[in-house]
């Protein structure tokens, strides 16, 4: 399984970025190889419009199995993600990626 996190940093102890569209980084943890893949999403800052769909487009390219985030994608982004076979878990605010991952493993994160 490849698990994507919206993240404020590049490391396993970085804090979850509660935003989906405007997340600073997308960090993907590969459970098989136990390695992290980091995608810099910070260029989104300069985009006035369509951050949600732009990041959703990235998800189609990355194709993770699971997404763990904070607030959850907005309505438009959620519609854009619908066709992607990816489970979305939310409410991981203020957690490190590691803590969020543990919570997800324990079934304590909310799925939307």
């Amino acid at each position: 399984m490849r698990i994507a996190f919206t993240s404020t940093g590049k490391a396993w102890d970085s804090i979850i970025d509660s935003r989906f569209g405007r997340t600073e980084f997308i960090v993907i943890y590969n459970e098989k190889t136990q390695k992290l893949e980091v995608i810099d999403n910070s260029a989104i800052k300069s985009e006035a419009h369509g951050a949600g769909t732009a990041t959703a487009q990235k998800m189609y390219e990355l194709k993770p199995d699971v997404l763990i985030t904070g607030n959850g994608p907005g309505e438009t982004a959620a519609r854009a993600l619908k066709n992607l076979n990816m489970k979305i878990y939310v409410d991981a605010h203020n957690l490190t990626l590691e803590q969020a991952y543990e919570k997800y493993k324990n079934g304590a994160l909310k799925q939307i």
Binding site: E47, H49, G50, A51, G52, T53, A54, A56, Q57, Y60, T76, R79, A80, N83, L84
Partner: protein
């Protein structure tokens, strides 16, 4: 030959609830007692001038904007469209191209750059313009459909309608949306003059500053009307003085105004202070825009005036 043209006045504010609609409707009705006047409600997300203007509906028109529609059989999934859309309104979902019309700005980039012509532009209904008339006053209400997210395309369409059908009106009053973002820029873009309505409160001042900054950036000629004068403090006046901004008139705070207004009535023919303020606005316009009592406006005169304010 001197080409007659309309004097276009935009009523904007920055802060909401300062009295744009109050001033727009009363000023338009007041001016229409003298010269042919057009009132245009460009607050398309929540137009409400109609509450105060009792006219006969003469025409209604559906308004459309152009958005691309995916033609699956022509598409090669090359990705050019998603790469070129500045607004991220097109998402390639695997082998499916989705157009998010609420994000689309009708720029045609995807459609023009698609190598196989798989994204033809199609009309999409976004709103409606309705025309009313009562004696010397024409009125256009521009209304966005609930759920449509973009005011700008409809505002542009409404300007176009005005310029096609109402060139003979002497005064054109544009009731603008609040704020200082794209819809306000679009609503004021054709105006010869912008009246910024504010109130003498810290909130009023804060947002007036934003509105002034916007108008200066747009190189618009503008002046300030202080509504609800008498409440709050003197900071708005001091600010205007310091920035050398004309205070065209001050409309006194008056319970009577609020009473009539909340009944959907025009106020200027019932409350003297309101009529006085409108007279002051008319005098200001006369002094600044023409000589011979509005017999016609020369474009060159307005241009000269506009250049002065830069």
């Amino acid at each position: 030959m001197i080409k007659k043209r309309s004097l276009k006045i935009a009523i904007a504010s920055g802060k909401g609830g300062t009295g744009k609609t109050l001033l727009s409707t009363n000023l338009a009705a007041f001016l229409s007692e003298r010269e042919s006047t057009l009132l245009v409600d460009l607050d398309v997300e929540e137009p409400n001038d109609l509450l105060f203007i009792k006219g006969n509906k003469v025409h209604a028109e559906e308004q459309y904007k152009m958005i691309p529609q995916w033609n699956e059989s022509k598409c090669t999934l090359c990705g050019e469209c998603t790469k070129n859309c500045k607004y991220h309104a097109i998402v390639q979902m695997g082998n499916f191209i989705a157009v998010f019309k609420e994000l689309c700005h009708s720029c045609y980039a995807c459609s023009e750059l698609c190598p196989t012509g798989a994204l033809p532009m199609q009309p999409h209904k976004m709103g409606e313009t309705t025309e009313y008339t009562s004696s010397n006053l024409n009125f256009i209400e521009s209304r966005l459909i609930v759920g449509e997210e973009q005011a700008v395309p409809l505002i542009h369409k409404t300007h176009k309608l005005v310029n096609e059908k109402f060139t003979n009106t002497k005064f054109q009053i544009f009731d603008c949306p609040p704020g200082t973002s794209c819809p306000v820029v679009a609503a004021t873009e054709n105006a010869d003059f912008v009246i910024l309505v504010t109130e003498p409160t810290p909130f009023g001042l804060h947002d007036l500053k934003l509105a002034v900054e916007t108008m200066r950036k747009l190189e618009k000629r503008f002046g300030v009307v202080i509504n609800r004068f008498g409440i709050g403090n003197n900071d708005v006046e001091n600010y205007c003085q310091k920035e050398q901004i004309d205070i065209i008139t001050k409309i006194p705070f008056d319970n009577e105004v609020a009473k009539y207004y909340s009944n959907g009535d025009l106020v200027y023919n019932k409350v003297d202070s309101m009529r006085n303020s409108l007279n002051e606005i008319l005098d200001f316009l006369k002094n600044n825009f023409t000589t011979k009592s509005f017999k016609g406006f020369k474009s060159s005169e307005i241009t000269t005036e506009l250049n002065k304010c830069k």
